[in-house]
């Protein structure tokens, strides 16, 4: 599938109707998502024929993108049932079969490094400090090949240090820096759009 085609399919997905502030529910736009998954597939071969997890999947954008790029099996996990309902509809609309689980990402118990690849846009941790790194910790335990994740550019050194030193990652690499316009979803955002710099990371987990 061509990048443009992927981006346009993702643009048709339904997103959070009533985003919940405390869960940091803002969607990953089609531009960022298509590039993230396209790079994972075309530069690294981490998507097609793989078992992929989408942590904090929300309305399923990243997981759907993985399925569109021929991931063999995709599991989306989110704590919020309303988002999962939308995610399931999004998948159905495109005749894709994804599995969804309602859970706190940090509470699930997986049987070892059972996923090939984890893709995620975790909460940045502005409401609940450190939650982005908690997501990463779990992802690096259950993926055998790679973890793709978005983190605020302002936290780059911290992310690298924690991933390598505390989570034992074999490598942690920023693939590119992106502008992420978090739309004005919440009243406390004064401007119409808050444009923040985020890094697209690729982590390679330690082999167990």
């Amino acid at each position: 599938m061509k990048l443009k085609q992927l981006e346009s399919l993702l643009g048709d997905l339904q997103q959070f109707s009533q985003p919940k502030i405390e869960l940091e529910q803002y969607p990953t736009g089609p531009h960022i998502t298509s590039r993230m998954l396209y790079t994972a597939e075309n530069s690294f071969g981490d998507v097609s024929n793989k078992v992929v997890a989408d942590f904090g999947c929300g309305c399923g954008t990243l997981g759907v993108a993985a399925a569109l790029l021929s991931a063999e099996h995709v599991v989306g996990i989110d704590i919020d049932p309303e988002s999962l309902e939308i995610a399931a509809l999004n998948a159905e609309e495109l005749e894709l079969y994804l599995d969804f689980i309602q859970s706190n990402v940090m509470d699930l118990e997986w049987r070892g490094q059972i996923f090939d690849t984890v893709v995620m846009n975790p909460p940045f941790g502005t409401r609940q400090k450190g939650v982005d790194m908690d997501f990463l910790h779990v992802a690096l335990k259950v993926a055998s090949q790679a973890v793709y994740s978005l983190h605020k550019t302002s936290t780059r050194d911290h992310v690298k240090r924690v991933a390598m030193r505390d989570f034992n990652a074999a490598s942690a690499e920023v693939l590119c820096e992106l502008r992420y316009d978090v739309p004005k979803l919440y009243k406390f955002h004064k401007k119409k759009e808050v444009d923040i710099a985020v890094d697209l990371w690729r982590f390679v987990p330690a082999s167990h």
Binding site: H73, A88, D99, D107, E109, F115
Partner: protein, 122 residues
């Protein structure tokens, strides 16, 4: 939820040491046809816990899988198509996953298991 997901998951309740596999209570199972990928199946065969998988497929009403398997079984196309069907085409639509140690039920509605823990289970 497919049986592949089921085979990856354990009960996550605090204090539980033998949380795998979750027992399946199937009220409604649906079948969705997908293309078979033999290489993928061979790779997954290494990762699947066979006993848990057989029991799960029976709980879903599918009894075609052989009890005993070894790597040569994978050479058979007939076996592969059954394996494919049970692993990727059967979906638990309504029912529950039950913790083998505590008996706690995690309900499955519209194909989505609710694995949220109560406060005292975290």
């Amino acid at each position: 939820m497919r049986l592949l997901t089921h085979n990856m998951l354990s009960s996550n309740i605090k204090g539980v040491t033998n949380g795998f596999p979750l027992r399946i209570e199937a009220e409604k199972v649906v079948e969705k046809t997908v293309e078979m990928n033999a290489d993928f199946l061979k790779k997954m065969f290494e990762k699947i816990q066979w006993k848990a998988f057989i029991d799960a497929s029976r709980a879903m009403g599918y009894t075609e899988l052989p009890e005993e398997v070894d790597p040569t079984t994978l050479e058979s196309d007939e076996f592969l198509s059954k394996f494919h069907h049970a692993l990727l085409e059967l979906h638990l639509e309504e029912g529950a996953l039950v913790c083998p140690e505590t008996g706690r039920r995690f309900p499955v509605n519209k194909g989505i298991p609710n694995m949220l823990l109560h406060e005292d289970e975290v």
